[in-house]
């Protein structure tokens, strides 16, 4: 039963992490290159633009849910399973979601990178 809870928590963490990452990435693309923006119009413009972006708040909300699920799971779950499994699956989930929702060109190079990192993160738990 504990395993069911643990994997349930992992899936919840992965889902909300991916949703959060995608929304934040979209928000920051809408805000624009922060370095160029800082040079051009200053810090307050950047902050104002971020705070007026709905995707940003939705993303933060999703990440907060993921964060507290992780905190919750870490306190009773097996740390060496929960943390790497969630991180590893989030890499794969993000690659799919970024391709579909952000229209990023996830080419062979990036797929290999995502797979290598996901496998490596999973192995670090061993």
């Amino acid at each position: 039963m504990r395993h069911v809870y643990t994997w349930g928590a992992i899936l919840v963490i992965v889902f909300f992490s991916v949703v959060g990452d995608i929304l934040i990435a979209r928000a920051m693309k809408q805000v624009g290159d922060v370095h160029a923006l800082l040079r051009r119009s200053g810090l307050w413009t950047v902050i104002g633009r971020i705070l007026s972006n709905a995707n940003f708040f939705l993303g933060v909300a999703a990440m907060a849910v993921a964060f507290f699920s992780l905190l919750f799971a870490l306190s009773w779950g097996d740390v060496s399973l929960v943390a790497p499994a969630a991180a590893s699956l989030t890499f794969i989930g993000n690659a799919f979601a970024a391709k579909i929702f952000l229209h990023e060109k996830v080419d062979t190079r990036r797929w290999i990178a995502a797979m290598l990192v996901a496998a490596g993160v999973a192995l670090l738990a061993g």
Partner: protein, 163 residues
């Protein structure tokens, strides 16, 4: 890619690794949180390790958002995954923990993944940087400069003969 951008990626890497390990350390001190006593999560924040971890994760988040403003998500995530390698090296050389061969293989795979993605372009999706105003103003700059300008920045260049 400028030096500043590499610094931002390094910040994402280091802040995430340090924040996560502090959080993990603090949560182990706090002990088990039961599903029937969810307020335990709020009490955990009072633990100094958890509090420091959260502060570091906020710094991570600022650097992460900065990076996402000029690079793809599928670039930033693998590029900053060296944090896991960092954690393993800290465990080996500072905490003198045993690092198994399987873990070294994991470290090698992650490093390989980072090398793979770092060799490619940082930004491939420019669908979201809509900039009808800026293309008219004819300002020269990096391709990623094309984020939609604010009213004030548009006004600032309009005096320079935009029309």
């Amino acid at each position: 890619m400028t030096f500043r951008k590499y610094l931002v990626l390094a910040g994402v890497t280091v802040f995430a690794a340090a924040g996560d390990s502090m959080l993990s350390h603090g949560m182990k001190q706090t002990g088990e949180i039961s599903i029937h006593h969810l307020q335990g999560v709020l009490l955990a924040i009072l633990n100094p390790w958890v509090a420091c971890g959260i502060l570091l994760l906020l710094a991570f988040f600022a650097a992460y958002m900065n990076a996402l403003s000029w690079a793809d998500l599928t670039y930033v995530l693998p590029a900053t995954s060296l944090g896991y390698v960092l954690l393993a090296l800290v465990a080996k050389f500072l905490l003198h923990e045993q690092v198994s061969p399987l873990r070294w293989l994991g470290i090698a795979l992650i490093s390989g993944g980072v090398g793979f993605v770092a060799g490619g372009p940082a930004l491939t999706s420019d669908k979201h940087s809509t900039s009808p105003l800026l293309s008219k103003s004819g300002r020269s700059g990096a391709p990623t400069d094309e984020a939609a300008p604010t009213n004030e920045s548009a006004a600032a260049v309009s005096g320079g003969g935009e029309k």
